[in-house]
Amino acid sequence: MIELLAITDDATPPEPPLVAVRSGGLSALCAPAEDAAVTADTLWRREAMLEELMEDRDLLPVRFGTRVADEAAAARAVAERRTELEAGLERVRGAVELSLRVHAPEPADAPPPEASSGSAYMHAKATRTQAAARLHEPLAGLARASVVRPAPELLRAAYLIEREAIEPFVARVRELQREHPALSLLCTGPWPPYSFAEDPS
């Protein structure tokens, strides 16, 4: 069994034990499948591999745990979804994913069950939504694409950012943090474009 890590259209061969299985203009970057139990460390090791690959080439990360019998099966899997994968690579070319999480102190961070009335509850919810939008919108404006995920915290979002635009994006996050000292903003990355591997529209 081999495990699929990423799809790329770059011909640079990966370092062994990784292999590139070619199919048309695309390659599936694969690793020998391990049968060890999945732990946080396994995930970090895979993440480190992907990040190393990402330094030299544009890639679409493959969902964790995607395994096929052999290289021929990997080539078939790629061939079957060629158009979609090629479009995906165009979408993320030259870009990385940055993640943003924002925690607000109580009570803004929690649903307001103690609200005295229905109107107060709706008002508190609306305030929270607006607060999230005030952070997300200026950042989305700097991104090629963005995705907001449902989350218990005030905002959890992913942004697809050109490699050269990472610095200005992070500077904007720092600015927003200074403008909103009561909130905790955490921006991490650069990540493989996990949130943009599939067409987000």
């Binding site: 009335s117 995920r149 449902p150 943090q177 909130l183 990355g189």
Partner: protein
């Protein structure tokens, strides 16, 4: 592993984000834990996740209508009470099955993006 933090909170206090680390461990063990008791909890989790998804969608829609100003004060009050009660009931059910808010936050793929 390189430091992945590009910009952290003032004073770099990451405590508010620390709960996720446990979430990851739980998620990994839950996947392989299929004894009868956890099957029931797993089913409850699945059902409550769908209910929570619908609740959030409806709430979002309601907020849009409130924003649009097309509702009377009385209607806003009534909507608010309904959502407040739903919220309370969801919390109760979550507690009953020992689930956290994060447990109902499964990535539903393209569906998840509706929120």
């Amino acid at each position: 592993m390189k430091d992945k933090v590009l910009a952290g909170p003032l004073g770099r206090d990451l405590d508010p984000f620390a709960s996720d680390r446990h979430g990851l461990g739980d998620a990994l063990t839950r996947r392989v834990n299929a004894d009868p008791e956890s099957v029931e909890r797993g089913l409850a989790q699945l059902v409550l996740t769908i209910v929570e998804l619908l609740r959030q969608l409806m709430e979002r829609q309601a907020l849009r209508r409130v924003d649009g100003g097309s509702l009377s004060d009385e209607q806003v009050e009534r909507l608010g009470r309904t959502f407040m009660e739903l919220d309370r009931r969801m919390t109760q059910l979550r507690d009953e099955f020992g689930l956290t808010e994060e447990d109902l936050n499964l990535d539903l793929g393209p569906l998840g993006r509706l929120l």
